[in-house]
Amino acid sequence: MLTTALILLPIIGALVVAVAPLTRTTTAGLALLVALMEVGLWIVAASRFDFDEGGLQLGTSRDWVESLGISYSVGFYGFSLWLTGAAVIVSAAAIGYAMWVGRDRPRAYHALMLFLTGAIVATFAAQDLLLFYASFEAMLIPLYILVGVWGGARRQAATLAFVVYTMAGSLLMLAAVVAFGVTQGTFSLLESGTSDNVWIFLGFAVAFAIKAPLFPFHGWLPLAYREAPVEVAAVLSAVVSKTAIYGFLRIGLPKFPEPADDLSGVILVLAGAGLVYGSLLAFRAPDLRGVVAYSSMAQMGLITLGIFAFDDLGLDGAVLQSAAHGLISASMFLLVGMVEHRCGTGELASLGGMARGRPVLATVVMVAGMIALAVPGSATFAGEFLIMAGVYDQGWGYSVVVALGVVLAAMYTLRVISAILHVKPGSAVRDEALDLRPGELALVLPLLLVLLVLSAWPALVTQSSFPGNNAAQSIAEAFK
């Protein structure tokens, strides 16, 4: 019931926001209230969750299309609960940001954002392949409009690239879902067995690789992240990308042990290539959003390395890194939005010197930057270190690649920090540009606080992501 409530609350909220005849501010406020209630509901769910126990928890299952074995079954495992937590927090921050900047047509905008939140939570909770597919696809409906209507100048090209890429992946996945479901006689992830069909696995893997995105399926990413409204880009990179991670953890690995193993070499190499390539692109990107966008792609490569390490360290690290990257990526995007709002541009060449006279902005950007570049002691460092250690068994070369990624992350993050805060005041930085306002601080600070908690106590996530803290075995047993 709790899981269903977690899915339905934002969707019902979306309907109410869409039709209620409220003023601009009240509409946005109502949306934010719903998003915060969602966070509260998630906290309730987390408090009722028994992390020591294995198997599905807070589950509900009802027949949907009996004759094909399709059911509405939802529930959480440790790792999906953490992913959901990051998702609802980021969504609330994004909706708060949209309220702060006062998006046009607020009823439509906030309804779509809330609907998106509901679809994301449903994706993380889905225990039936068809439900998973439906929620995975449902995310695209609001995203299409959100980017296409409220996006930047080249929003139409961005939506086109985004939709073409993701739908190509999704439809391959639909074919795979049909093939898997019909062969197994059930679409339920709880009841179906494993398959050794490489093609079906590839259908899923490509869909996830596009959604993440992993190299070389990232063609949609630069335009979409640059042209989307900044808080939508935050949700995209922080949360929507993690549905691919959930897909790998819940479907890719447990349901296709042999194909996943056979193809792990290819995927590891691509993930490693994506990590390095994304980091290099981030280092070369001329604008703030480009840096954050490509760094996000690099991080997805890193997380994938952790998943396909197939061992406890790598998997735990992947989950921790997913949660941490979700939070940090969202904070970075929102900060980018705040800087762009003041300067009217995100071009690094026209920024600079913003630290002077803006101590709060400087401090917040610095803290977020330090976490993003995985300074030792941060949650991201813990995640990267676990992945590096975990992937060592697959070949020491991968660990070297991860180490390289960490170094490159430091380089591009420091470049961005100094481009915003230090050097000479840029041409676009006006003296009267304000320091962070309390309202803006209230959006970013909670995200950073959660990250600081995770930095102090990464075991909160790593020890409770998989039953019995035994990641590889749980995956091998398909969470039975």
Partner: protein
């Protein structure tokens, strides 16, 4: 002389519609001008609703198929379910037509609509080649006139003529094929043709091919689709609405019935033929739709591609395929009727043909129609939260189950292409504004059109409802599919 006993209940949906048609025709003559339209529309609406209810009763009271009237008709759940779909579609189309600004011919319009409905209802319960042809001609003749009814518009007449010629050709092919089959087997009844079983008879195969082609004209499957875009575009929009949903549903079910009951032994051959139709329809329908600017034309090509998906269910040649087809018809009819209804609304507002450009800003100006159209487009593309997803899923499952995984891949690729034009419609509605294109409604905003709103609302309800309540619909489809000998 031997007279067969008549099962009036089985015939009642047809009779109800014929009655309504007759009353509407009388109304055209004796009712005073100012209330003629309301009376005719009201009577026909009641006729369609009554037909739906009666067909529902037949469905409920016919656990096993019964052959009627000396083997010329059949009373079974397959026919009854299709009749319900057809009659409900007809009733919704009456609502769509209600506010259409037509100068004259109101009585005739509704009379012909009901008569066409009666013909389709009769057609789907045909059990021999004679009644099949009779039913086909019955509703086709009504549709020829309906298409050409707006005599003040040149396109309407042109469309009517095209439909008459191409449709007449299709009927002739069907009749010729029936003659071959009769010649080869000496039988007209579907079950008797199957029982005669003269395998490898060239005439039988030629007849089968021609019957298939004749029906393919009616379902507008490529390469027999040439009339579809012109006729859908030229016909009055309410007539297009009816044709796109009802004609297709009726002809699909009849094709399924003929192939499954009359030619089970030739299934190896017709499965290939149908699969070829599937591929051509999916490829041509989707690719041609990409190039369209006129929304009715775009939807016409989209309906050709949907014919491809539905034929995929027939090509599966299994009970599961039949269930998938019958399920598919429910959300498809709703989406199709709904989409054309929104086009009709826009047409009435702008007083000119609806192109993609003239949809600009519709989503923001008319939020209800905008969201509805959005739902229909996503549904046709197979997105979740609409029955379109399950329609595709069931069809793909049936095809995969019958070993035709390559058809599934083809269907997936076609769906990917179709997204481009479905989402293009959404893009025009929401991402362009009418200000930027200087569109203004001719003569101010039209008065609110409540019947059309109800029709669109009902279509949205069915489109979304068939996603959440897929199982009840599938149960009914399973019952209906069990009437066929798989």
């Amino acid at each position: 002389m031997h007279t067969p006993t008549v099962d009036w209940l089985a015939l009642s949906p047809s009779v109800a519609l014929l009655g309504a048609s007759g009353v509407a025709l009388l109304a055209a003559v004796i009712v005073p001008d100012w209330m003629r339209k309301s009376v005719a529309a009201g009577v026909v609406l009641i006729g369609f609703v009554l037909a739906a209810v009666l067909a529902g009763v037949v469905f409920d009271e016919t656990p096993t198929p019964e052959v009627l009237l000396d083997g010329s008709m059949v009373r079974d759940q397959l026919a009854a379910l299709t009749q319900v779909i057809l009659a409900v579609t007809g009733a919704v189309v009456v609502l769509v037509s209600w506010a259409e600004r037509r100068r004259e011919n109101h009585g005739e319009y509704y009379a012909l609509l009901a008569a066409a409905g009666a013909g389709m209802v009769f057609f789907v319960s045909a059990e021999n080649l004679m009644t099949l042809f009779l039913g086909l001609e019955w509703f086709s003749l009504c549709l020829y006139i309906l298409v050409a009814l707006d005599t003040e518009r040149a396109t309407s007449l042109e469309a009517g003529l095209k439909y008459l010629i191409v449709g007449g050709f299709g009927s002739a092919v069907l009749l010729f094929g029936s003659a071959f089959v009769y010649g080869a087997t000496g039988e007209l009844g579907f079950a008797q043709i199957a029982a005669a079983n003269p395998t490898d008879d060239v005439f039988l195969l030629a007849g089968l091919a021609m019957i298939l082609a004749g029906l393919a004209f009616k379902v507008s499957a490529a390469p027999f689709h040439m009339w579809t875009p012109d006729v859908y575009q030229g016909a009055p929009t309410s007539v297009t609405t009816f044709m796109s949903a009802a004609t297709k549903a009726a002809a699909m079910v009849v094709m399924l019935r003929v192939l499954a009951t009359a030619f089970p032994d030739q299934s190896e051959i017709w499965r290939v033929a149908v699969a070829v139709l599937v591929c051509i329809s999916l490829a041509w329908g989707n690719l041609a739709a990409l190039a369209q600017r006129d929304v009715k034309r775009l939807l016409a090509y989209s309906s050709i591609s949907h014919a491809g998906f539905m034929l995929m269910a027939i090509a599966a040649d299994s009970e599961r395929g039949a269930e998938a087809l019958l399920y598919y018809l429910v959300p498809y009819s709703a989406m199709s009727v709904g989409a054309f209804a929104v086009v009709a609304a826009r047409e009435r507002e702008l007083q000119r043909p609806v192109t993609l450009e003239s949809l600009a800003g519709l989503g923001w100006e008319r939020p209800f129609y905008g969201i509805a159209m959005w739902t229909f487009m996503l549904g046709m593309a197979g997105f979740p939260l609409t029955g379109g997803l399950f329609g595709k899923l069931f069809v793909f499952s049936a095809a995969y189950d019958s070993g035709e995984w390559w058809l599934v891949l083809f269907g997936v690729a076609a769906t990917a292409v179709s997204l481009a034009y479905y989402l293009n419609v959404v893009r025009w509605m929401y991402m362009r504004t009418s200000g930027e294109l200087r569109l203004a409604p001719a003569g101010g905003s039209p008065p609110p059109d409540y019947p059309l709103g109800v029709a669109v609302g009902a279509a949205v309800f069915v489109t979304v409802g068939s996603f959440f309540a897929a199982q009840p619909i599938l149960d009914v489809a399973t019952d209906a599919a069990s009437s066929l000998p798989f």
